[in-house]
Subunit: 451 residues, 2 copies
């Protein structure tokens, strides 16, 4: 039996994002200025973000209207489909009913444009001419490049050097959309030059690329910085995913028992899960499950502490799960999950026992992705494949417990740019690496002292 | 101003394909048995095709119902969106209204599953266990692999050797979907061994790969052959594209003045255009425009004649435009347009003046595709980019003539697997090759003598 699409009409598309802040049982502590140890205010963020986004970062309004210009662009590929995975259920022989939300239909192939479009809009509205950002494997960089084309902004992307050379096709995509793409570390910034002096062959990391992009934005009048995950306003924009899922589940008379998303900085996970927090707090039994790689196990093995968001210690201190700001994960194929930190919002919910987390190695993840692709047709991005693997485990659990139930996971992107990873998997060349706890303890020793 | 999607509801999806045969002013002459010179009958095709498809190949019924099992799969990504390209119109400063039908939303990224799903269905229904086919760059091979997964059929794909090695990612995609992929020419068939004896380093060609796949199917009881374009039943399945476009244009009160598709074997072009033939014959002025590369100019420089569909002369003789069955086009990036022949149906319509044709070199084609991607977001496949280029020319013509009008083109697939081609274009490395007429005349000398 084939999958079935649960359609949502354009007219039914949500007109406001859901802001989780006012509903959180424990609100997150504020970001701190690393120099003074004092909470940072809007004026500290103004050099690198437009006011419209800073307001969203701290807003206590539950609903934030989506401007019509953003809705117009969302409508090019939204509402995105929710599928009932009948065929996969058969293959897994599970009594669970499995649904997946597919975000790979955007021109960039992932959920990232949900926020890149919004960020470009607010920057444009405030007269910004140019955006700087970082990217790992290129999902975020390509999404922001697309958005900048739509709003006629210049875009410069600092791309982790090893990916720049190993994954040229996402780079080409950014260039097709008119962006300048710079391999990081570069000689364009003090942060980059500092790294290159110590190690001219540095392969780069997301933390280093963030440092360069923030410095670029902070030192140029016409330029702001744009981040693809972690921050409150980014997660806010992604809630359109979960809000649509709620409407779609209503159409088929279902309520979720488990909601699953892969978790790097936290944005696609939060996008799916956050809108269901009120129901969970009201007593509905819904499991929120974040999935990460054992090679970068932020939620499962990290520490909840104030830490920098980048390597060069340029960002404010954020209260979050972290593996240490100089933690450098191995080069696994799920580049979007290779971040030492985690969104403060997801972190607090995990600390408070509202969000569960689980970690897997690469081979079982790709094995699940292969089974999924053969059952359902769509080839998952390596990041999203982590959510697929967790879905399999949950489906088996329902079977073992002899229970019906509803699992929904976020298929956040397609794997068209990651076929080399599937090649490596099929050839048996993938390593199942688990980051050693003693080495994590080492890098956690460098956490900043909070004044 | 941003593009706008013209939605079609699932319930409004066509339930029957449009068969152009009974409406053609001059029906095509029958395929001939090359040995006897006599028209071939269903019994000649039975070793390699299932009866359900053979019946469709010769049917005189105007409407052929789409089985519910096929509709169920179509509904995973259909109806496909039609977009009004407001932004592109601004960029081109044209009074023309430009629409594009986007077929890249299927799991395989192109229009090809419209027929691969149907072909897998009819084969399965008649107890076939395994399908053999050929593929160039891999669009068709991946679409058939996907379909075989859905219907639990084995699939073997003979992939042109140069693409097998240069374009590994479409190959990986087929393997992810469970297919066996064999670089062609191979030592698995007499046809392949014959070529390898003469030239052990043969890069292969679509004509050679067809020979191998046909031989594979003809010599194995459990196996049939599947073709991704050219034949009547393949074009029939693609008419869902144009039928949806008709409904979508109705919703916005528009009628087309120009319909444009790229043309290799003819299936995406026919899919868009054929359903509009009755209107055209009834007197509506609609231009049907087929677009091909100057390096493989079948319609614009070929001859209308009986010729083989493959290099090893194993297929029936087809009445079509051809460059000669041993014509080998240079390795341009639009692999799907590198075929020496052309669908007999499109050929007859071109000969009779109903279909116009135009040819372009690579650089203007990619230049248009880049402008399109920046204006509209979606990155076109190199094949579809030919339709984009022709659309630009038509839009400029409307402007020069000071006329309003409606242009619709088929954006048959996305370019996610073709970023190397965009890289080459951006680096200035693409050649603008026009196949010399005297060399075409040479290869036309080898056309078979019809008895």
């Amino acid at each position: 039996m084939i999958a079935k699409k649960i359609h949502l009409d354009e007219k039914e598309m949500p007109k406001a994002w859901y802001n989780i802040l006012p509903d959180m049982p424990t609100p997150p502590d504020p970001p701190l200025n690393p120099g003074t140890g004092q909470p940072i205010g809007p004026e500290d963020l103004a050099p690198i973000f437009p006011m419209g986004l800073i307001e969203q970062e701290v807003s206590q309004e539950r609903w934030i209207s989506i401007p019509e210009d953003i809705l117009d662009i969302y409508r090019l590929w939204r509402p995105s489909p929710l599928y009932r995975a009948y065929h996969l259920e058969e293959v897994l022989d599970t009594p669970a009913r499995i649904y997946y939300k597919y975000e790979g239909g955007s021109p960039a192939g992932s959920h990232k444009p949900n926020t890149s479009i919004a960020q470009a809009y607010y920057n444009k509205r405030e007269g910004v001419r140019r955006l700087a950002t970082e990217t790992g494997a290129g999902q975020w960089g390509s999404a922001l490049s697309l958005a900048c084309q739509f709003f006629d902004l210049e875009c410069t992307v600092y791309m982790v050097k090893v990916s720049y050379h190993q994954k040229p096709y996402r780079r080409s995509m950014m260039q097709v959309w008119g962006s300048e793409v710079i391999p990081s570390p570069s000689d364009k910034t003090n942060a980059g030059r500092g790294i290159l002096e110590k190690d001219p062959d540095s392969p780069g990391s997301l933390g280093i690329a963030i440092s360069e992009a923030v410095e670029d934005a902070a030192t140029r009048e016409d330029t702001k910085y744009s981040l693809g995950s972690v921050l409150n306003h980014v997660l806010l924009h992604q809630t359109i995913i979960g809000l649509e899922v709620k409407e779609q589940l209503k159409k088929v008379g279902e309520k979720p028992d488990v909601l699953i998303g892969c978790c790097g900085g936290g944005s696609n996970f939060a996008g799916l899960v956050f809108p269901f927090l009120p129901e969970k707090l009201a007593g509905e039994k819904i499991r929120f499950l974040a999935v990460e790689p054992t090679s970068c196990p932020t939620l499962t093995k990290g520490e909840f502490a104030y830490d920098f968001g980048d390597t060069a210690q340029m960002t404010p201190l954020m209260p979050m799960y972290t593996l240490g700001h100089d933690f450098i994960p191995p080069g696994i194929h799920a580049g979007g999950l290779r971040y030492h930190g985690e969104s403060p919002l997801v972190s607090v919910l995990h600390r408070d026992g509202i969000v569960d987390a689980v970690a897997y190695t690469q081979n079982p993840v790709f094995s699940a992705a292969l089974t999924f692709a053969r059952a359902e047709g769509i080839i998952p991005a390596p990041e999203s494949a982590h959510a697929v693997k967790a879905t399999f485990e949950e489906a088996i659990r329902f079977k073992e417990e002899g229970k019906e139930g509803v699992i929904v996971f976020n298929l956040s992107g397609h794997g068209h740019f990651d076929m080399a990873a599937y090649d490596a998997f099929l050839a048996g060349d993938l390593e199942d690496y688990t980051y050693p706890e003693e080495k994590i303890a080492e890098s956690l020793k460098n956490l900043p002292k909070v004044k």
